[in-house]
Each structure stands twice: as C-alpha cells, then as structure tokens.
C-alpha cells in the first residue's frame, strides 16, 4: 500500500511527510517528523500527554489521523520556546518544580498555553477543569496548577 503524502504546517513552518492512512498524528510526529516532545501515554485520548493544537484548537494527537493534517496548522511543544528563550510557562514549571518524571509535562504545557490564550485570568478551578484531560502520576497536580496560576499573573502584569 502506497504511503500518503501530506503537506502541512508545523510550528509555523511548511512541512511535508509520508504516512500510512491509519497512522495517527502522534505516529507521524514521533516517526517521520522526529518531533518526540509529544508523548504517547494511553493512545486513547485519556491522558493528554500527546496534546497539540490543530488550527489553534487543543486536541490529542493520538485521536487524529496524520492524513488529516493536510492543509492545516499544527503546533507542538517544540514550537513553544523561542530559540533558547523558554516560554513563561516552561520557565515557571522549572522554577516551581511542577514536574517530576516529565512524561506529562509537554502535554501539560501545551494545554496550559491553550488555556491562557483563551482565558488570561483563569481561576484555580478553571485550571483544574481545563487540565482534567492531562494526567500526571507524580506531582499530585498542585505544583502544576500553582505554576499555571503564577505564570498567568506574571503574563498579565507584563
């Protein structure tokens, strides 16, 4: 079976890749595109470790076919930092130790970024509901939620 040729945009750059019709976007990211920041946790849309945005909308890349990327815009964790300069959320996660093993971290960051773009002043409850689809088995979530709140406050002040 011939592979499908997909033309898309990833983190603002035009990109082409080949995939099987049944490959997920996560398969394509971690395979031919060599963008391994998005993680596979559950592969069924429960854990959020593979979170990306598709046309600026937060989704699980394990629940999207790679062929669906044709003519759309994908953003991943790799597009979050500007060169060597970390995104404020990334910086704050480091400062506040809002991560331990790191598997959930890229998904947490992508999801938190999507939240702050939509709502620059989320309450703690709104953050917890927004991140309900991102599972962390290490931190107990408190440090993550506090880091998002702190980042939001700093970004509003700027």
């Amino acid at each position: 079976m011939a592979k499908v040729h997909v033309t898309t945009s990833i983190n603002g750059e035009p990109m082409e890749f080949l995939c099987e019709p049944s490959d997920t976007m996560l398969d394509a990211l971690r395979g031919p595109l060599a963008l391994t920041g998005s993680k596979e946790g559950c592969a069924s849309g429960d854990c959020g470790a593979c979170s990306i945005t598709l046309d600026d909308r937060l989704i699980c890349s394990c629940l999207m076919l790679a062929v669906e990327a044709q003519d759309h815009e994908i953003r991943t964790i790799e597009g979050m930092a500007q060169g060597d300069k970390l995104h404020p959320l990334q910086q704050k996660f480091l400062e506040m130790a809002a991560l331990q093993c790191g598997i959930c971290t890229s998904g947490m960051l992508v999801a938190s970024d999507a939240l702050l773009k939509k709502n620059p002043e989320p309450s703690e409850e709104e953050i917890r509901f927004w991140l309900a689809g991102n599972l962390c088995r290490c931190t107990g979530y408190d440090k993550i939620v506090r880091a998002v709140m702190e980042t939001a406050a700093e970004m509003r002040a700027q």
């Binding site: 019709p21 592969a43 937060l58 699980c60 669906e68 044709q70 309900a132």
Partner: protein
C-alpha cells in the same frame, strides 16, 4: 489496518457515494474520538474512512430566521461553545456536549458522532432528546428527517440505513420563558461516563409549565424520551407533588444494567433524583429570561 483508504470529499454527494459503495467496510470520520480508539483497540478495522469535515454543511452552526438552530453533525463541542448565541438559547444542550471527554476531546468530538456511536450513556443525546431535535440524514435514496430519539437502536447501533450519513441537527425555535438543562451522575467530577444522565427542556408561562420534554440516558439500551415525566410537569408549577410524579416516571422508565459503575437499584433511584435537580435548573434559567 494496512488496507485502509482515507477519503476527504468536499461534497455530501461524494461522501455518500463513497460511503455507500464501500458498504460495511466504511466508517465515517468526524472528530474521531471514538473511531480512532476503536481502531487502535482492534475492535474495528475499516477498509475505507470517509472524513466529512471538509463538507461545509457538516461544519456549520446556523441560527435560522425563526430562531431555531441548525448544527452540522461534525461540529466540535468547542466550536459550539464559541458560538455567540447558542449557549443563551440552549444552555442544557451545550453543557451536555461539553461534558464529553476532556478539553482535548471537545476540540474534536461532535454531537453527531456522540449520537451515531450509539452509546446509551452519550451525554449529548438526552439533552438533544429533551430539546426535541430533528436530525437530517442523507443516503443513496435521498434525504429524510428523523426524531433524534429514533436514531439509537441499541448499544453501538443506530436506525440509519446502509449508506446513510447524519448531516445535521435542527433545534426548534424557543418561545419566551424556555430553557433547558442537563445533569449526569458520575463517581468523579470530570472525565467519566454517565451512570445516569437527564436532560430537561421547559417552557414556563406565569409560573406554570406549558411545555416539557425529558430525555434519560445510561439506564436502558438506548437513550429514552420519557413522555410520562413530561406530562407530570406540564400544567404544574413544579411543586413537590408534580416533581415526585415526574421523578417516579423516570425511575419507572429505567431498564438499566447492573455493573461496576452502578447497580440497577442505584441507577433507578438516581434517575428520579436527577430529574428533580435538572428540572429545577431548567426552570431557574427559563424564568430568569422573562
């Protein structure tokens, strides 16, 4: 899965042609939040996937001249939430759609997929039943309309004919004093499957209920329209006696399974409790707008 073909037609006619031609090997792809999981687990091995998201009619949200709404079958929950006026007219339908999975899932999952997946516990379905939604389906023999409650046939099955695709939901215009609500019982606060789900739509004039519909989910092989519960509410002022009668009608309609998520006795009781709570929310919203 290596034999899979992916098609993303721009028109409904092309989609129906491809879908009907491929027969039972074909699956429709809207948000994919059920389909991809079923493929991954090996439950489904489709030969052809027809992605309907390039078809404008499938992706539109339109407020019609009479005040009703037409929602494309593949519109995501997040897109519906971002619509300017939908949440004001149908807050119950929206809260039901936005209980489906996580924010990530809501970015993709559609009410059309939720209905066609055929789960008795699909959250949007009882709210759509309460809303009196009419669906448009189109197949090789043309278009037809169905009441939303007539779509599910049993767990994982629908009454759509071979080659038919769900196109859109039509929600009727709302008289003044109308609103709706949806509540579900789950053991945690997010990311779970309903043990019981209740949708209530009400119209209230001078304190008296003039129209009501009740949809009940996760307590029978399909989502149910509970006409006896609606009858108990209509003509009442939502007094305790009327609510008790409507709650009893919901419990009486239950034909639930006994499983780890909830026993038969529990689901049956909770159906009545949720009816009272959901009706109270719908009534509060309906009278706020007066």
């Amino acid at each position: 899965m290596t034999e899979l073909r992916y098609l993303a037609p721009d028109t409904l006619d092309e989609a129906i042609g491809a879908f009907a031609k491929a027969g039972s090997a074909a699956r429709i792809l809207a948000g994919g939040t059920d389909l991809l999981v079923q493929m991954r687990s090996g439950v489904l091995k489709p030969g052809v996937i027809v992605d309907i998201k390039k078809i404008p009619e499938m992706m539109g949200i339109e407020q019609t001249a009479d005040g009703g709404f037409r929602i494309g079958a593949a519109v995501s929950g997040m897109a519906l939430a971002e619509h300017k006026s939908f949440s004001k007219v149908w807050p119950g339908v929206l809260e039901a759609v936005n209980l489906i999975g996580s924010k990530q899932v809501q970015g993709r999952a559609s009410a059309g997929g939720n209905l066609c997946n055929g789960s008795p516990a699909g959250d949007s379905v009882p709210a759509m039943v309460a809303a009196g939604a009419i669906v448009t389906v189109q197949g090789p023999n043309g278009r037809r309309e169905m009441k939303v409650e007539d779509v599910p046939a049993g767990p994982g099955r629908t009454n759509l004919k071979p080659g038919e695709i769900l196109v859109s939901f039509a929600l009727p215009p709302r008289p003044p004093g109308s609103s709706d609500a949806y509540l579900r019982m789950i053991p945690r606060t997010e990311m779970d499957i309903a043990v019981v789900g209740v949708g209530v739509s009400l119209t209230i004039k001078d304190g008296t209920v003039t129209a009501a519909r009740v949809g009940l989910g996760a307590v029978a092989p399909t989502v149910l329209l509970v006409e006896d519960a609606a009858k108990a509410l209509i003509g009442s002022k939502l007094d305790d006696a009327a609510l008790a009668k409507a709650a009893a009608a919901c419990s009486a309609a239950c034909r639930p399974i006994d499983d780890k998520r909830g026993t038969i006795a529990y689901r049956t009781k909770v159906a009545g409790v949720l009816l009272k709570r959901t009706a109270a929310i719908a009534a509060q919203r309906a009278t706020q707008k007066n």
